[in-house]
Subunit: 269 residues, 2 copies
């Protein structure tokens, strides 16, 4: 192991799941966890392995620091790290690497796990891609090696590539989930069960193993089927949240397939 | 088997996959397929079993008719069925059952499979829910029994319940798929691979086995994280299709969680 010690700063989902994974892989390494609020200390203390919950700040340690705090706290937290040989990384999809620059240490970078984390969900680390960068190639290589020990996939990505990937993740995860939440809310209001949609949702995703999403599209919008669309808009008219999203996404689908041949509409009709 | 003969009218995805499933389950029943255009006759002729492709109309047959044509053709096609003992059903999520009324036959109803079908994808019928209705209870029961022989799940749903379910399916399948298509297009434009999102997409769906979508939401919008949202809007500003959807869904997520306690934002941060 390249790092003699690992310090994890933060109390959220990413800090929690990273701590669990690191303690699982590195049972012989001392791991210290610190968060200013200490609000999840109880939860962290249940992690098995060599995990020490610190009640005082840990900014004088050597080794690797993983700063897994809110985006707007990254600079102020990292500025307090005083050990010159420390390697400091953050885990954010949105924050530039240089948010870590200009402090006592000289090696820093990014360790961004491309996944959605919730405290209550176990994580399958074996296929989570890490997007890695470092201010010097030594740091990049150290973080790559470390990330690969935690997961099967780690690639180098600069700030711009990471931000673009993060935006794609917002569409593919956050927005997708919101479509499900609206579907659930709508079924609730109509006294129908969300569970009836499960096979459909599963197939929606499984399809993407053999078709690109652009080619997998079905439904009234891609068929430009205005009678069905208008009937849906009428059903939704008293539900502004659903109505606005229905209008916006239907318009977007119609636009995406505006210049396609009839073939796609036929195939998916 | 309650029906001595099965006629399937249509040439699309639903007609094709239903014909395959019926010929698999009922190897001893004559199945006739007819479409006015005949455009997929070659494909249908490759289905194994007792499937006869008719080149002339089949409106004089007894038994079950499955009218799996475009919504706006259902009435005109069914009006041509002349056998008085026929049972006629359509497969649409949107069309009222009574679109089949007033013709030579007296028994009619709906056999709506809640799934997304593509010619090139095999279908796992065992868990596809059928939404069933009939104009008289005898028809409802016959269609229920028939649907249950094709799939594990069949429930009775009236026009209104079926339409509401169809709208939910548009959100959960069509709109979700479009989020993926936009993510793919965005990654393409940025010379990044869609495949990097696969573990995230899989987890997005797997999460729903243990969390409701409303509780599974993560990302900048639910956190009301305007610095990240504004950075994303700036990145997207030259891509109107992405920008419009980003704005609409972000606003919708913010609105859904407007009156939630801080707790959810903390958990998902």
């Amino acid at each position: 192991m390249i790092f003699p010690h690992i310090s994890i700063i933060g109390s959220g989902n990413v800090a929690y799941h990273l701590t669990r994974r690191i303690s699982e892989i590195y049972s012989d390494i001392n791991i210290t966890v610190y968060s200013r609020s200490g609000k999840n200390n109880k939860l962290f203390s249940q992690i098995s392995g060599q995990v020490h919950i610190s009640h005082e700040d840990i900014f004088h340690q050597p080794g690797l620091y993983i700063v897994a705090v809110k985006d707007n706290a990254i600079t102020s937290v990292s500025s307090q790290i005083v050990h010159p040989d420390a390697t400091v990384c953050h885990t954010s999809g949105s924050v530039n690497q240089d948010a870590l620059s200009g402090h006592a240490y000289t090696k820093y970078g990014v360790l961004y796990p491309l996944q959605t984390f919730s405290i209550e969900r176990d994580v399958n680390w074996s296929d989570i891609p890490f997007l890695i960068n470092g201010n010097i190639s030594e740091t990049t290589n150290d973080l790559l090696e470390f990330a690969r020990s935690l997961s099967g996939v780690a690639i180098v990505a600069d700030d711009s590539q990471r931000k673009s990937t993060h935006i794609a993740a917002v569409f593919a995860n956050n927005f997708t989930n919101h479509m499900m939440a609206l579907a659930e809310e709508w079924l609730d209001m109509n006294e129908l069960e969300f569970s009836i949609l499960r096979p459909l949702i599963l197939e929606t995703i499984n399809k993407l193993n053999t078709l690109s999403p652009k080619n997998a599209q079905t439904g009234p919008a891609i068929r430009h089927d205005d009678p069905v669309i208008n009937m849906h808009l009428k059903e939704l008219e008293k539900y502004p949240a659903h109505l606005k999203v229905y209008r916006a996404i239907t318009a977007s689908i119609k636009e995406m397939y505006l210049n396609q041949t009839d073939k796609i509409w036929e195939i998916n009709s």
